[in-house]
């Protein structure tokens, strides 16, 4: 998914994403004081910033450490270093919502945040809603069959949990308006609305 840098012969020149990613990585590296030497300036001004750094953070309540590059995203760190693959790589820019996680209590598309920015932060993923006593939202997704292929489902479960935490008495209309950050291709929206409403109505319990 990290289609951040195109080859020199693209008809459109440097992509917008390449620019954002390049500058984002550089900015993040500066912010955390990594000693980096910008190497090999790429065509169109994209710079690859090198240098690994070990960061400390909490993931689902546990203290963890990870060694990451400036360009490593939070999503890559979760998936490849911690094997937490609930958050999915669907879109680089977060427009699908499939990689939604909590960072210090706020929902973020993990594909849009750099791992270095997570130093000292508390990350919570969809996996924290499982275990022996699954979160009522996850259970409501099962009961109302709000999942088909299931690839978007973890992102949706986090989105619904976060939305209902803020709006525990949401109306159906508010649910229809408030969960438009996520995409499902199989078409589970009708069932997701039912699942969310069942939580509001207190029909689903953990």
């Amino acid at each position: 998914m990290t289609d951040s840098i195109h080859n020199s012969d693209t008809h459109s020149g440097v992509s917008r994403r390449a620019f954002l990613k390049g500058s984002g990585a550089a900015a993040a590296a500066t912010a955390v004081g990594t000693s980096t030497a910008p190497l090999a300036a790429q065509e169109g001004g994209t710079e690859v910033v090198r240098g690994e750094k070990t960061i400390s953070l909490t993931v689902n309540g546990q203290n963890r450490q990870a060694t990451v590059e400036p360009r490593t995203t939070l999503l890559e760190m979760l998936r490849y270093q911690f094997d937490l693959t609930g958050a999915k790589p669907v879109s680089l820019d977060g427009s699908s919502g499939a990689s939604t996680v909590w960072v210090d209590g706020k929902t973020v598309a993990a594909s849009t945040m750099l791992a270095l920015q997570c130093e000292g932060k508390a990350i919570r993923t969809v996996e924290s809603l499982g275990g022996d006593q699954p979160d009522p939202v996850a259970q409501a997704f099962v009961k109302h069959d709000a999942e088909q292929c299931g690839f978007c489902t973890p992102g949706f479960v986090v989105a619904v949990r976060a939305f209902l935490d803020k709006h525990p008495n949401a109306s159906e209309e508010e649910i229809r308006q408030g969960l438009n950050g996520n995409i499902c291709r199989c078409g589970t929206y009708a069932n997701i609305i039912d699942a969310a409403m069942s939580i509001v109505k207190g029909e689903s319990h953990g």
Binding site: D3, N7, K88
Partner: protein
């Protein structure tokens, strides 16, 4: 010989019950492992460089800088200098590296020089395509009730006969309709995670064809299918696009072999949209003639569209769609454009055919000032696929759920709320859905545990759950007493999930295996119960004598009499062999209620009703989900999604999730699903459901918009611009 049958409705414990999907919690809490999620020790991440041009020839490829990139381990060329590339995105070279970042960086350093060639993308303009030499014949057919005499020239006779029929027609409609190409847009892109184990290839592949793709790998890698183990426990969407290992899967296997390391090679998002699969476009010019009651007597059409660089398009065989008048002529022309070749998209040909045909029937109603419902009903005599009475009954149910009669107004004659008007539309569809070949191995262990093994796959339709329901119900057990194993090519073969054939196939094989196994178990325990095996039944976790439930053994006691070895059976169903357990041919009716803002051109879904027949329903909960999903996928292609190609470069300009517009949760309105399962349909056995309900939404929504506006917006998706353009053309703005 065991006589296979389905229990009566009132006798089932799990079949026909709304069972929660077995893997629901794994999916909802992120522990379900998809191909993309399989992380193997020391794996390489592969990223491919896609061609940036719609049509070009490769002049040179220089990988030196890429090879020198830190972390890059291997580079493989998929195309050589001199290759002609006919669509943007085609993969040129693969970089395998220690991390995604290194792979992407390495890819960026591959220097490819191209010679650009002429591009053609205009699939809607038939004349332009002809001029550019981009058309091929798509076939056609003409039939008239009157037959030519021996002396007649057939073409002339048909021409004259069509002229005569139009002359006699009380109502004549001439229309233009169309539907743009769309993509499959699987959320999990195509790809695999592979490794080698003592000369065997272990391929975690995102596939809807677990039992068939081992052959694909084997053929291209000079192995036998036994040397390949394809595994797919979970797949993040397929929709008809994931039947093959694909050349990128083969490349992953080759790179893994050469490097001695596992390789994960998934397409990027834009590559998924550009290469992963698309559905042919279709555009049609239609003239139809009807009698004074609006019963169509003659249909004359020419349609065209593109299936990509090799041509192809919408088959003429399904034009006109479902409603097929006694006299017709149809002609299809295929157009080659610079885009990747189409793949089967959920119900191939049917959604386009429906959107290109039943819109014309609705325009007939509009011209007559008639209720569209009545015109569709009067034309059911010519209905193909399902029985006319099935469509008629479903129309009545749908109309009641939509409150059609109360809401109906003549086209363009409804009340206005400021700039907003509303309208109703309907359409109907059919599909085969015959059961696919499927084999199931069932093992009953002496400790009472039960396991089934079948090389099928669960696309999210609930296949795993259906298998468990059938086995457990047949054995008189609960769901948790049965372990279903699917998703490995080493299990007994089961057909690809295409054509809505899976639920029929696995229901056949699992029911047969469970009935066979049970009969063998009865043989083993009949002595202990002092009864004939034929007098035994399995109910509520016990084996008992029919009619004397007090003489029984618990399931565990019964199984303990098996000795040391498990009881094993393998049962198979072969397509076309005739069976009381499955059948084919379903019908469905859908209705849409929309509002249209005539100032902004925005169409909003208010309500959507889907009524569907599918023979015997194994799991009404997951079946309903399929229909909800199909309705939403239909709303997607009716109102939102389209592949946009830049006419100058052939670039697929909206190949990212942010740009490839799909409906969100707030865009779909209220959806009502009704499963139609009277005894007359249930008796037919299991029939596939995945595809049929995705067929009608385009026509139904287009008809609803036309009913609201009194103006046809001819081409789907009905974007705000197209709505406003149609209004302007009609002089309504």
């Amino acid at each position: 010989m065991v006589e296979y049958y389905w229990p009566q409705r009132e006798e089932t414990t799990l079949i026909g019950k709304p069972v929660d999907r077995l893997d629901g919690l794994e999916k909802a809490t992120g522990t379900a492992k998809y191909t993309y999620d399989v992380n193997l020790k020391d794996q390489l991440i592969a990223k491919a460089l896609g061609c940036p041009h719609g049509h070009c020839r490769i002049k040179s490829i220089d990988t030196a800088a890429a090879e020198a990139t830190p972390g890059v381990v291997h580079i493989e060329l998929l195309r050589e200098p001199g290759s002609e590339i006919e669509w943007e995105g085609e993969l040129i070279a693969v970089v395998a590296a220690d991390s995604e970042g290194a792979a992407v960086e390495g890819r960026s350093k591959i220097d490819v020089q191209y010679e650009t060639l002429e591009v053609f993308t205009n699939d809607e303009d038939l004349e332009a395509a002809k001029e550019a030499g981009r058309t091929t014949r798509g076939g056609g057919k003409a039939e008239t009730q009157r037959e030519p005499g021996e002396e007649d020239d057939e073409d002339e006779f048909i021409e004259d006969e069509i002229k005569r029929l139009f002359g006699e027609a009380a109502h004549v409609i001439e229309g233009y309709y169309g539907i743009d190409a769309i993509t499959h847009c699987c959320l999990e892109p195509h790809g695999s995670t592979v490794h080698w184990d003592n000369g065997r290839l272990i391929a975690y592949l995102s596939t809807q064809n677990v039992s068939g793709t081992d052959d694909g790998f084997a053929r291209d890698l000079n192995l036998t299918a036994d040397d390949v183990d394809v595994i797919c426990e979970y797949i993040g969407g397929g929709f008809g696009s994931k039947f093959a290992a694909d050349y990128w899967g083969i490349a992953a296997a080759r790179i893994s072999k050469q490097t001695g390391r596992p390789v994960k090679f998934m397409l990027d998002r834009d590559q998924e949209l550009k290469l992963g699969g698309n559905r042919p476009s279709g555009y049609i010019k239609v003239k139809l003639g009807a009698d004074e009651n609006g019963v169509v007597q003659i249909w004359d059409s020419e349609h065209w569209g593109t299936g990509g660089a090799n041509g192809g398009g919408v088959s003429h065989g399904v034009i006109p769609y479902v409603l097929s008048p006694p006299n017709y002529r149809r002609l299809a022309t295929n157009i080659k454009v610079n885009a990747a070749q189409a793949r089967a998209w959920r119900a191939p040909n049917h959604p386009q055919a429906c959107a290109m045909s039943q819109t014309a029937y609705d325009d007939l109603a509009a011209q007559m000032g008639a209720d569209s419902y009545d015109i569709f009903m009067r034309n059911l005599g010519s209905a193909q696929g399902a029985k006319p009475e099935v469509y008629a009954e479903e129309m009545k149910i749908a109309a009641r759920l939509m409150d059609w009669k109360a809401k109906w107004h003549a086209h363009g004659k409804g009340p206005r709320d400021g700039s907003v008007v509303e309208g109703l539309g309907m359409a109907l569809h059919t599909w085969g859905g015959t059961a696919n070949n499927s084999s199931c191995q069932l093992k009953i262990y002496p400790d009472g545990s039960v396991q089934s093994f079948c090389g099928t796959q669960d696309l999210g339709t609930g296949t795993r759950t259906v298998c468990a329901q059938v086995v457990a119900d047949t054995l008189g057990l609960s769901l948790d007493q049965v372990q279903v194993n699917i998703g490995r090519s080493t299990y007994p073969n089961s057909g690809a999930s295409g054509g809505s054939t899976t639920v029929g196939g696995v229901s056949e094989s699992h029911r047969r295996a469970a009935q066979d196994a049970l009969m063998k178990l009865f043989d083993q325990v009949a002595g202990a119960l002092e009864a004939d095996a034929g007098d035994l039944e399995a109910v509520d976790g016990r084996i008992r004598i029919k009619g004397s439930p007090e003489s029984s053994l618990s399931w565990k006691e019964a199984c303990s009499r098996l000795g040391l070895k498990p009881l094993e059976v393998t049962a198979s169903y072969q397509r076309g062999s005739g069976s009381p357990l499955s059948s084919s041919g379903v019908g469905g009716v859908q209705m849409a209620h929309v509002t249209v803002d005539t100032e902004t051109g925005v169409v909003k879904m208010r309500k959507f009703v889907a009524v569907q027949d599918m023979g015997l329903i194994v799991n009404p909960k997951t079946a309903k989900s399929q229909i909800y999903g199909a309705a939403i996928m239909g709303i997607a292609y009716a109102l939102f999604e389209q592949r946009k190609l830049d006419p100058a470069t052939g670039a697929f300009v909206n190949a990212e999730m942010a740009d490839y517009k799909l409906p969100r949760l707030g865009d779909t309105g209220q959806i009502i699903v009704e499963l139609y399962e009277p005894d007359s349909e249930r008796e037919r056995g299991v029939i596939g459901l995945g595809e049929p309900p995705v067929i009608s939404p385009g026509a139904a929504i287009s008809n609803a918009v036309c009913n609201a506006l009194g103006v046809r917006v001819p081409v789907l998706p009905l974007t705000p611009k197209r709505v406003l353009d149609a209004l302007q053309q009609a002089g309504r703005v």
